[in-house]
Amino acid sequence: MSAPARAWAWLRRNALPIYAGLAVAYMLIPIVVVAVFSFGETPKDKLTFALDNGFTWEYWRTMFDIPELNDALSTSLRLAAFSTLISTAIGTAMAIALVRHRFAGKRVANLLIVIPMATPEVVIGASLLSMFIYYTFALGFTTLLIAHVMFSISFVVVVVRSRLIGFDRNLEEAAADLGAGPFTTFRTITFPLLAPGIISAALLAFALSIDDFVISNFNSGTTVTFPLYVYGVSLRGIPVQVNALATLLFIVAVIAVALVLFQQRRAERMASVRPEAEADSPIPVPGTAAAQ
């Protein structure tokens, strides 16, 4: 085969992966831009997306020097932590009930869980605001927490469910056969195997909370979360430290997900959970669907 023909054949065979590579690059462009411009020196220490002034570590060093930014970030972190804790607990319980038990009203429960995921954030935020206004309830951290837990529950349920469905009940039955009571079984068998799913769900809930803008904007009153802070300063000059922080958050997230994946692989090697059944989730998080 001649060289051009070979090249063409190679191209045709690999068109799909090449395309995938391009698409993935497209997904990552803004992240790269954000990271790159966190290193650019700017005259007023405000983001200008120009590299004329040279490279600097200054903004990474002074990342935590802006009080409002720190306040906003710590508020967001606290909010996300509480929201994750509560919604993961509630959501896991719901998932267990939905998958493992028979009861009346399952359809209604399913519906109630699915609909918030399908509701635009504007509507969720606005309706919550309507209720809080009606009760002249002071807007602030509490109202934010309520809202965040609310929209996280559905996602937690979906993720944990999918993990539960692929769960090999034989292990639990074996434990029961060996004389373990329900609690012991749960503690030593079910929970450890379920853990990666729960952790994935928790990560998702955390990411949703920390990133939320619209619902928070409606219900925060005067409390400032990290996204709300970025919105505020975007109108007048973003301090470059924000970019550095955003890049840092990204790196931390990457590490966290990598750890989860790693831990999941280990858990799987320790017990024979059927890998192919893991794909049964509409919103797979790397922890659940992709472990082959």
Partner: protein
């Protein structure tokens, strides 16, 4: 498990009824409706020893920051611990955010806001502000520029103390559109999509009215509507790229626009040496941003202390040198650097400002505001 179809349908109906009953029940035991009203008693801010914590809400870029800044100086001198938040980006947005709390008599922990004249008046009318006793502010009233002592919206300065004044005109990128001299030039098709206007109705619409030869002070509601229609048409056709808050500075810096209706003191924020603020041929709009003390302010004594502090000429000078807006304090001109003293944007002469109008509100505020809001949301 099999449920009969009928059973399922009934189950759903019952569930729906239960929810409805629950909601109605909550309504019954719940709070009141929207419009609160404070009962009408206006309190006067209490003076006292200046100490403790102070939280201030201000517009961005309105203070000299850092260890040598005004806030740090105040903290050193008085021992007050100041939390300075730059969260006022737009008068309406800020008021909207705080309104639920203000109606309850709460200020969200803040003891001072800085809002523009008309918003200060609106907040006062809504019962959200405390009054200020001039006897508590000797330095302020001694050093305040005479022209600001008795404005029409707050005669005698009962509830507002000027923070800075400014002028709304047109920022022009001289390298790309040197011929722009008037607000009417912004409607020129050759700049299509390259101009922005402010979201602030009392700036943009007033300026356009002046361009039509109408004096905003004497303008009727129809004049306002005509100007709004003109702007609406330009927005629809894409002539006006967008309506901005403080962010027109970004577009100027990025080179996305050649001209913007904007504020005179923003030179320090715009990273474009070719951008220049011009006084429009028909004149500018004059306004002031004011410090006000809200109801429920936790530390009015410190708030008053802050006001006294920033009216000292040396402090006011430091502020002006950084933020380049028009200071309300007498004596600053003598203390600033010579080039700044000559800058007409910071120390405008009456001659320079002769065509300018102060910011006013239309008669039918609600109706005109709504018409304007429709233009803003396309």
């Amino acid at each position: 498990m099999e449920e009969s179809r009928r059973g399922r349908a009934w189950g759903r109906v019952t569930a729906a009824l239960a929810v409805l009953a629950l909601a109605l029940g909550l309504t019954a035991c719940g709070g009141g409706g929207g419009g609160g009203d404070n009962g009408g008693d206006v309190t006067t801010a209490e003076a006292g020893p200046v100490k403790g914590d102070l939280t201030i809400s201000n517009w961005p870029g309105y203070i000299d920051p850092g260890k040598d800044g005004t806030v740090a100086e105040f903290e050193d001198e008085t021992g007050v611990s100041v939390k300075y938040i730059e969260d006022v980006n737009d008068n309406n947005d800020f008021n909207g955010k705080l309104e639920p709390q203000l109606e309850q008599g709460e200020s969200g922990g803040r003891s001072i806001f800085v809002v523009t004249d008309w918003m200060a008046k609106q907040m006062y009318d809504q019962g959200f502000l405390q009054e200020i006793n001039p006897d508590d502010l000797p330095t302020v009233f001694e050093n305040m520029v005479p022209g600001l002592k008795d404005p029409s919206f707050d005669p005698g300065r009962k509830f507002s103390i000027p923070w800075q004044s400014g002028m709304t005109g047109i920022w022009v990128d001289k390298s790309k559109a040197p011929e722009i001299k008037s607000v009417n030039d912004l409607f020129d098709p050759k700049y299509k999509g390259k101009v922005t206007m402010l979201e602030e109705m009392r700036d943009s619409v007033a300026l356009v009215m002046k361009g039509e030869g109408v004096d905003p002070d004497e303008a009727s509601d129809e004049d306002w509507e005509k100007a709004i229609d003109k702007i609406d048409a330009a927005a629809d056709s894409g002539q006006i790229r967008s309506f901005t808050g403080n962010n027109y500075t970004e577009d100027l810096t990025a080179g996305n626009i050649v001209a913007a209706i904007g504020w005179s003191g923003d030179a320090s924020i715009i990273e474009n040496e070719n951008a220049e603020w011009i006084m429009p041929a028909e004149g500018c709009v004059l306004w002031s941003d004011n410090m006000v003390i809200p109801v429920g302010a936790p530390n009015t004594a410190a708030a008053l202390g802050w006001m006294e502090f920033v009216y000292e000429p040396e402090v006011a000078t430091d502020l002006t040198e950084y933020i380049t807006y028009i200071s309300p304090v007498e004596g600053v001109k003598e203390l600033v650097s010579p080039e700044l003293a000559k800058d007409p944007l910071v120390f405008p002469t009456p001659e320079f400002q002769k065509e300018c109008s102060t910011q006013v509100s239309p008669d039918d505020v609600a109706g005109i505001s709504e018409a304007w809001a429709d233009v803003l949301t396309g």
